[in-house]
Amino acid sequence: MMGSEFVMFSLTPMLIGVFASVACALPGNFLILRRQALIGDAISHVVLPGIVVAFLVTGIVAAVPMLLGAAGAAVVAVILIEAIKRLGRIEPGAAMGVTFTTLFAGGVLLLEQSDTSSVHLDVEHALMGNLESLVWLRATGWESLVDPSALGGLPEELPRIAVVCSLVIILTLLFWRWLKISTFDEEFARASGLPVGMIGMGLVIMAAVAAVAAFDAVGSIIVIAMFICPPAAARLMTNGLGRQVLWSVGFAVMSAVLGYILAGYGPLWLGSENAVSAAGMIATVSGVILGLACLFGPHRGRVGARAEG
């Protein structure tokens, strides 16, 4: 399992899964604390119309236009939610529900109406991703990691998600204090002259970038699961924000690696020949981790909650 076959078929998808999970889990920490957990859900739904429109405009399935289309759709969605909330005086949850379902429905309709049979673009792919297909065929073994010609054959999703993941890490570290203060005490942050609105918007944009990049590689299930499950589980493990973020990164990596292995090799161990969906399994593992944290996490209870009697 650790030989050349592993490097060829499993190393790259696993790494992509890890990078995507971490990139989503980091902003997820702050979204959860700000009670904006479902923003990730909304963003990952509206990415579909974005990439469909990008495809219809450019006529090709290429990464850059699709990323731009998806990012554009995410921005449009945020503006629409805000507009519906203000114009119609509707509570945020409902405004979000109206917006993302409508945009998603529009995306599906566009997809069905346009001729995409020649290209690999369909709803199921958008939902479930295609992690298993991101293999590194030019690799011959571990030594390929230092072989430039083999490295040239890496699936292009890997460097992209790696860059986005590093970007998210750097931004989180750079704006750590700002994020922390504005998340826990918005009034104090405003009084100290921090641009609270800008920080909030920046966080949503960072989440959108992470979602779009991860979506491209792994589909929207992982995106939503990773925005929420690892940070939520981490929240039940500790009271410190720094430790929570570290826990969440650990949980995200664990979900990605364990999920991928279970999906690829688990059925073999059970005597079946076919692997199951890796994206689905990664989401499932993150859910199991959250479930365990809910049952046994040292800080699972509400502060000041009465003992159950």
């Binding site: 959860i32 519906i84 509707i90 379902t101 309709l109 069905e112 109406q113 939503i224 969906s277």
Partner: protein, 405 residues
């Protein structure tokens, strides 16, 4: 246009007619049940419930094949989806109540994890020999093309039952949705009603799976109630408005979808509902955007008219374009800006009322009366004639309204 007309008039085949009627009934039940969710501010819980149906569908298929039956039996699949939806709903409630995670985190976690598990199970189904033509993907976005007659019957009957249940439960649910504390005080068992409400939502979700699909069914629960709020302020009628809007979206959407190929049922129904929402957002009589803009314009003109008249009374020049236009339109000033006869009369009256108000605020220190001084309420509406006469006495004898004129 003819195929669409045929479909609308239920002439496009027996199945299509049954599906359209079923979609209408389902839309009604969804709109009505969704109203309670919306008013309880729990609209997105239904999204978790909907996504949580997927593992149940897959497991039900596997179980039915194992037992030697036809895995595609819709009733069996729906029963399976109901079980896993109930587990998902329970998980949301449990996480939100027993841990310190907020409800939105619980919703997102359940939604994504159950959906992920469902996808894993679907890939297992696809590797089964009976699973290749299972068509379970149809549950993601709904598909009515090639639907069996008995499936259409299931949807129509299920829709009717859901409407009936809404009708039976309407009073306690309305009470809880609008004022849970009052309901509890009058002896209503709020948790139980909440449970019934979620059960109804779950039923709607499950029945709608084949029609709208689990990703978009939440739209049918959210959009019609949100739309209905634009049309009425009365608690009892919101539900029926929402039901009617949902029924219209379901019926029209199913008919449009049946009229041409490549028009997937679920997305079309959602887009029809969204269209109704947009129309309401802009053109609803009281709460619509257009009505609000008109109201604002009217208010603005009244303020400008008053300011203009006061300026006339004080013989001050008016520079503001809008003020000049308002006064000119009302025939209070001539084109060159000089006050007309009516203009002078009204200016004099407004200046006199201004003095009366000043006195009134000295006499009545309580804000109950003088709080209504906003410059736009005529003083005759607030005080009786004898009180106004008293103010006039205090102001003193007649003087020239425009000093030094």
């Amino acid at each position: 246009m003819t195929p669409l007309l045929d479909a609308l008039l239920l002439n496009a085949g027996y199945n299509a007619a049954l599906v359209a009627i079923g979609a209408g009934l389902l839309g009604f039940a969804a709109g009505a049940a969704g109203t309670f969710l919306f008013l309880r501010k729990r609209a997105l819980v239904s999204d978790a419930v909907a996504h949580a149906t997927l593992p149940g569908v897959g497991l039900a298929f596997i179980a039915m094949v194992w037992l030697g039956g036809d895995g595609r039996n819709l009733l069996g699949l729906l029963a399976g989806s109901a079980v896993s939806a109930a587990i998902g709903l329970f998980a949301v409630e449990w996480i939100a109540r027993r841990t310190r995670l907020a409800e939105d985190a619980a919703i997102g976690a359940v939604l994504s994890v159950f959906f992920g598990l469902g996808v894993v199970i679907l890939t297992v189904v696809q590797t089964m020999s009976a699973g290749r033509q299972a068509g379970l993907e149809g549950f993601l976005l709904g598909s009515t093309a090639g639907m069996l007659f008995q499936d259409a019957v299931v949807i129509a009957v299920g829709g009717s039952l859901a409407v009936l249940a809404t009708w039976v439960m309407r009073r306690p649910m309305t009470l809880v949705a609008f004022d849970a504390e009052y309901a509890a005080a009058t002896g209503v068992n709020v948790p139980r009603i909440d449970l019934v409400m979620m059960g109804l939502v779950m039923a709607v979700t499950v029945i709608g799976l084949k029609l709208v699909g689990l990703i978009l069914i939440v739209a049918l629960l959210i959009i019609p109630p949100v739309t209905a709020r634009f049309w009425t302020e009365r608690s009892a009628s919101v539900i029926w408005y929402a039901g009617a809007l949902g029924a219209a979206a379901g019926y029209l959407g199913a008919a449009i979808s049946a009229s041409a190929p490549d028009l997937p049922t679920g997305p079309i129904i959602v887009l029809v509902a969204a269209g109704l929402f947009l129309v309401s957002l802009f053109f609803a009589p009281a709460r619509g955007v257009v009505a609000a803009v008109l109201r604002h314009r009217r208010f603005q003109r009244r303020v400008h008219r008053r300011q203009g008249l006061l300026a006339l009374a004080r013989n001050e020049p008016i520079h503001d374009e809008l003020t000049l236009r308002v006064l000119r339109d009302a025939g209070l000033i001539r084109a060159d800006g000089v006050a007309t006869e009516t203009g002078r009369a009204q200016a004099a009256k407004i200046a006199r009322d201004e003095r009366r108000w000043n006195v009134a605020r000295e006499v009545h220190q309580d804000t109950g009366l003088t709080g209504r001084y906003d410059g736009l309420t005529p003083i005759e509406d607030v005080f009786a004639p004898d009180e106004i006469a008293e103010f006039d006495r205090r102001i003193g004898g007649p003087r020239s309204v425009v000093e030094g004129a």
